[in-house]
Amino acid sequence: MSAIGDGRSMPTGAGLFDLPPELAIDTDVARRVIAEFVRGQLRQAGFERAIVGLSGGIDSALVAYLVAEAIGAERLLCLMLPYRTSASSSRTDAETVVERLGCAGELVEISPMVDAYFGRPDTGLVGAAGPEGLTASAVRRGNVMARIRMTVLYDRSVTWGGLVVGTSNKTEALIGYTTIFGDAASALNPIGDLYKSQVRQVAAAIGVPETIIRKAPSADLWPGQTDETEAGFSYPELDRLLFWLVDRRRSVEELEAKGFAPGLVQWALKAIAGSEFKRQVAPIAKLGPRTAGVDYLYPRRRPGSART
C-alpha cells in the first residue's frame, strides 16, 4: 500500500498481484455489500446454510471466505470434487481453506462418474458414451466434469439444507470461459460483478492464503494448464479492456487509442457476443397472454417463495 495525499491509501496488489488502478475498489464496502447480499438471498429463500465447491483456486476460495464472513463458517459446507488428473496442490490448497475457515469440508471424487460416461482411455474400458467417448476432446471432458461437480453440489445442497453459491467472476462470465449449467450454475453469485483483478484484491483483504492468490488461474483440466496460456491473455490487461469496454462504454476506436492491442479488442468482442447465451435464461417461444421472463415479471424472491 502506498500513501496518497488525503491520508487514505491507494490500493495496490502489494506485490502479490498486478492491480490496474482503475479497477481498484474499496474492499470494505464490497465485503459489506456482499455479506448483506448473501444473508438477504438466503433469508428470502428460507435457508440458513450455504454450500460451495472448492477447486483450490482463488474464486471459490474467496467465495468460501465471503460466505463464512456473512453467515458464519458453521453454516458453510465446502465440497472438494477432484478428478483423477486434478493437481494434488489444488486439493491441498482447498483443504487449507477449509482448515483456516473451520467450516465443514467433504471430499467427493468425481472420477467414477466421469469415467462411467466417457470410459477409461488408459485401460480401454468403454463408458456410457460408447467407444467414441474414449476420444472425447478436452473441452467435452471439461464440460462434463463441471456439470458433474454441479450435479453433486445441488444434490448435497438438499442433504446439507443450503443454497449453492456460485463462483464465476465477471471476467470469465463476460468472455464465456465457463460451462453453462456447470460452474456457471448457482442459486446466488456474490462475485459475478468482480473482475479477476478485483477478486484478487478482495481475496487479499479478507485473508485468502497467499499461495492461492499467487498461483496462475487454471481450469485444472490437464496438468500445467493455465487460463492465460490457453486463451492468450493476461488477466490485468483483459480486465482493463473489459472495464473500459463494458463499464465505461468505450468504442473500439477509443480502446485502440488507449493502447489496447487491436487483436485483443477484436478477440474480446467476439468472445463476449458469442457467449451471450451463457449469461441469460433460455428464450421461451411466446404463445400465450403472459410468458415467464417476457411479460410475466416477478422478483425471484416474492412473497410465498421461501422454503417453509
Binding site: P11, I25, D26, E36, F37, P299, R300
Partner: protein, 312 residues
C-alpha cells in the same frame, strides 16, 4: 429556537409483504414518538419494497385504504406532543394507474400526497414500465410550522424540483429513496460512487434553496440490488447536520433548529433574488422553439428546434 427532532427510519422493507411492513412502520412510529421525535421519515416504497415488477398491482393502496388510514391514525396527537410521519407506498388512482407515492401523515390523517414525478427507466431501472408518473408538484404546510416539500428519489436528480418546492414555500425538503448502491471505487470519499453523487447534490440543494434537506434511503437487498442507506440531514447552509452509516438498519434521531432557515435566508437571500418571470419567459420560449412554433434567433444552422448548437 424552533427545535425539531427528526427520526430517520433507515429500514430494510420486505419485498411485497405489505402487512409486515405496515407492522414495522407502526412499531417505528411508536419508537419515534417515545424518542421525542416530531417527524419520522421512512424510505421510498418503505411499505412495499422496491423491485416489485408485477407485484406492484398486488400491493397498491387507494388513498382511502383502511390500512393507510390506520397508519395515519397513529400520528394523532396524544397531548401536546404531535408527530408527523412521511411514508411511501404504491398508490392506485381511481382510474387504476399505479404511482410511487409519498405521503405526509399528521394529526391522525393523510395531510398531503406527492406522486413521484420522474420514473427512471434506464440502466438498472425499469420504473416507467410498471408505474405512472405524477403531474403535480406542491409544497405543503405542516403542523411543524414550516412548509414541507416531498420528493421521491429520482425527483432529486432534476434541478427544477427542489427549486420549485422552495419557491412554493417549502423550508424542509424531504427526499425518500430506494437508491441502489453501485460503482464501487477505491479513492472517493466513501468507496461508493452512488453515495458520493447523492451527498454532493443534497448539500448543493440545501445551500441553493437555503432549506433543510432530509434524505432517507433504505438498506437491505432486493434481488441483485443492495441499497446503501447513508440517510442525511443537511442544514440550510449546505452543511451536514447528520449522516447515518452506510448499510446499517436503524432509527436515527437528529435534532435541528428550524430557525436556521430564517438566519440563512436573511444572510443569503437567494430565494428573494430569484427571477421567476425570467425563468418562465425563457422556458416558454424554449418550449415554443422545440415545438417548431417559433424561430430560434440564436441557433446555428442545422440545430434541432430549441437547441442552439448543431450536432457534430
Amino acid at each position: 429556537m424552533q427545535p425539531l427532532r427528526i427520526a430517520l427510519a433507515q429500514t430494510a422493507p420486505r419485498l411485497g409483504l405489505l402487512d409486515e411492513n405496515l407492522a414495522s412502520h407502526h412499531a417505528l412510529i411508536g419508537q419515534a414518538r417515545a424518542g421525542g421525535a416530531g417527524l419520522v421519515v421512512f424510505p421510498e416504497l418503505g411499505l412495499t419494497g422496491y423491485l416489485l415488477q408485477d407485484l406492484a398491482a398486488e400491493v397498491a393502496m387507494r388513498l382511502d385504504d383502511p390500512r393507510l388510514l390506520e397508519l395515519a391514525a397513529a400520528t394523532a396527537s396524544d397531548g401536546p406532543a404531535g408527530l408527523s410521519a412521511i411514508v411511501s407506498f404504491v398508490e392506485e388512482s381511481a382510474d387504476h394507474r399505479l404511482f410511487i407515492a409519498v405521503a405526509l401523515l399528521e394529526d391522525g390523517r393523510v395531510r398531503h400526497v406527492q406522486r413521484k414525478l420522474f420514473l427512471p427507466t434506464y440502466g438498472l431501472f425499469d420504473e416507467r414500465r410498471f408505474f405512472a408518473a405524477g403531474d403535480l408538484l406542491r409544497a405543503t404546510p405542516s403542523r411543524l410550522g414550516v412548509g414541507v416539500g416531498l420528493t421521491v428519489c429520482e425527483d432529486f436528480w432534476h434541478l427544477g424540483v427542489p427549486q420549485l418546492l422552495a419557491l412554493d414555500g417549502a423550508q424542509l425538503l424531504v427526499n425518500v429513496s430506494s437508491s441502489p448502491g453501485r460503482d464501487l471505487a477505491a479513492l472517493n470519499e466513501i468507496g461508493l460512487g452512488t453515495a458520493t453523487s447523492w451527498r454532493m447534490l443534497l448539500r448543493t440543494y440545501a445551500q441553493l434553496t437555503t432549506s433543510f434537506v432530509v434524505f432517507v434511503n433504505r438498506v437491505g437487498v432486493d434481488e441483485s440490488i443492495s441499497f446503501w442507506g447513508g440517510s442525511e440531514v443537511i442544514g440550510p447552509n449546505g452543511e451536514a447536520v447528520f449522516s447515518a452509516p452506510l448499510y446499517d438498519e436503524g432509527l436515527y434521531f437528529v435534532d435541528v433548529d428550524l430557525g436556521d432557515v430564517r438566519r440563512e435566508r436573511i444572510a443569503l437571500p437567494l430565494l428573494r433574488d430569484e427571477r421567476l418571470e425570467l425563468a418562465v419567459r425563457e422556458l416558454n420560449r424554449i418550449v415554443s422553439e422545440r415545438a417548431g412554433q417559433a424561430d430560434d434567433s440564436t441557433s446555428e444552422p442545422g440545430a434541432e428546434p430549441g437547441l442552439d448548437v448543431a450536432a457534430r
